[in-house]
């Protein structure tokens, strides 16, 4: 049985830093203000020819480093490559953040005296270990759109379709088409794929 392998791709030639992805994610999962599971980072702002924006979140890596270092083994990786974790097992130690090349794990300061709470990160809208679409899953992890067959909301909302998510074959196809039609510059692989998917 051939399973799809889900991947994100953000086309920096199309990303206009509209932050639609950031806000869509925050709204859909009702995140506390200050936690941005997805963030748009812009370098060289204001300098013509050099300004560059891209949208970053968890890449759901193959042999995810976060999963490797977790002392309580709260991560689990689905067949389709989506990396999720159990917030009830997580102790908020921060090791996954140190391991992650993309800075995806975040720690809301909602413990006592503003201490670090448990880790929160992009779930590719696939929820968590709780029962699918239950109220508990919704509260802890946000929407589970994958279970409903829907596209993760960040890519669904992307204004210019810079951010694409889906099976790697389909995403690579789109990537190659765009690169070919641009017809200039050498593109190895989509940004970040060399670190995420070995």
């Amino acid at each position: 049985m051939n399973y799809a392998r889900m991947k994100f791709y953000c086309d920096e030639e199309r990303c206009i830093e509209c932050n639609g992805c950031t806000v869509a994610c925050a709204e859909a999962h009702e995140l506390p203000v200050g936690i941005s599971r997805r963030k748009v980072v812009t370098l060289n702002e204001g300098i013509f020819g050099k300004e560059f924006s891209t949208s970053v979140a968890c890449m759901h890596c193959t042999d995810a480093p976060c999963e490797q270092v977790c002392p309580v083994d709260c991560f689990y990786i689905r067949e389709d490559g989506i990396v999720l974790h159990d917030k009830e097992k997580c102790i908020g130690c921060g090791y996954c953040l140190y391991a992650c090349p993309f800075g995806a794990p975040q720690f809301p300061r909602d413990g006592a005296f503003g201490t670090k709470g448990v880790m929160d990160k992009c779930t590719m809208c696939a929820g968590g270990p709780e029962e699918t679409n239950s109220a508990k899953e919704r509260e802890l992890y946000g929407q589970n759109r994958i279970a409903e067959g829907k596209v993760p909301i960040c890519a669904a909302m992307c204004s210019t379709k810079a951010l694409i998510v889906g099976d790697e074959q389909e995403v690579s196809k789109i990537y190659r088409k765009r690169v070919a039609s641009r017809g200039k510059g050498v593109q190895g692989a989509p940004y970040g794929w060399d670190k995420a998917y070995k």
């Binding site: 980072v41 812009t42 002392p71 102790i91 953040l97 140190y98 800075g103 448990v118």
Partner: protein
């Protein structure tokens, strides 16, 4: 108590200052961090941390956790404890202040080391809330430890400086490998105790600092800039340092417990009452004994 509250409030305030600045991890540097990860001429701290944490650390911790006590268990069976008479003169070694501070340190360590191990082996203990509270306790106990380590460092600093006796002591491993009772070259504190002192205080301070870095996570005190690395690399280096130093601290902590509670019968009373047995001092801290005799203190 007031000192405690003061320090506590200061820690919180300092923490809020750190949070007020822009993110040092999730800001614009996030992209450069991605590019740096595993790059040719980077420090490779990311991949290094992943490798060490996933494959080596827990094994080493387990080894020390089982190995060190086991070695001492064997020692107890084979060599056995040293016994000295408790009839002689009592020599005053530790003032009340020192004993109280040491007590704080005891409580702190007794909380810190097991909770630290609970974090390391979290997955075998089921993870979740218990381990999360273990982590919180680990941090809280650090505050207690901080209060004790600074005075302790200051009042025993001079006594713990290395002397020529220490080299001699090392060669015979303090005489603990034989049942023979003979004079051992050592001052008020022997080389073993000195080793433990420096690891516990200086190492302990490094543990406090690295622990604080991991606790505060996203702060900007210019430290990463000082080393010329990114904040995330600083955190990775911190995590590695904290774990590696933990090996040493843990091993020597077990040693200290064995030495003070089992290896010498009745030695623990000295840290409770403040008085050491004359015979014990005469043999195990011969240089100090001779000095006291010369100064007519005995």
């Amino acid at each position: 108590m007031r000192k405690f509250m003061f320090l506590f409030i200061a820690a919180i305030l300092l923490a809020t200052v750190a949070y007020a600045t822009d993110s040092q991890i999730w800001g614009n540097m996030r992209l450069t961090n991605i590019l740096e990860y595993g790059k040719e001429n980077s420090l490779h701290l990311g991949p290094l941390f992943v490798k060490l944490q996933s494959q080596y650390f827990y094994k080493i911790f387990f080894g020390i956790l089982i190995g060190v006590p086991f070695v001492f268990f064997l020692h107890y069976l084979i060599v056995g404890p040293k016994v000295f008479s408790h009839g002689g003169v009592k020599i005053y070694a530790f003032s009340a202040f020192k004993r109280i501070i040491h007590l704080f340190a005891v409580i702190a360590f007794v909380i810190i080391v097991p909770t630290g191990l609970m974090i390391v082996f979290g997955k075998y203990l089921g993870g979740g809330t218990i381990i999360e509270y273990a982590r919180h306790l680990h941090g809280l106990a650090t505050i207690l430890f901080t209060i004790s380590v600074i005075p302790m460092f200051l009042f025993w600093f001079k006594d713990m400086l290395p002397t020529s006796d220490d080299i001699k002591w090392m060669f015979i491993l303090g005489g603990y490998l034989s049942k023979e009772i003979k004079e051992i070259p050592a001052g008020k504190f022997n080389a073993g105790q000195k080793m433990w002192f420096w690891v516990a205080t200086l190492g302990g301070i490094v543990m406090i600092i690295t622990g604080a870095f991991m606790y505060l996570q996203d702060f900007d005190y210019g430290i990463a800039k000082l080393f010329g690395i990114s904040q995330i690399d600083l955190l990775r280096a911190t995590a590695i340092t904290h774990n590696v130093l933990a090996f040493v601290v843990m091993a020597l902590f077990f040693t200290h417990i064995y030495m003070s509670l089992f290896a010498i019968k009745g030695a623990v009373h000295s840290i409770i009452t403040g008085y050491k047995e004359e015979e014990e001092v005469k043999y195990l801290h011969s240089t100090w004994y001779k000095k006291l005799k010369k100064e007519k203190k005995i």
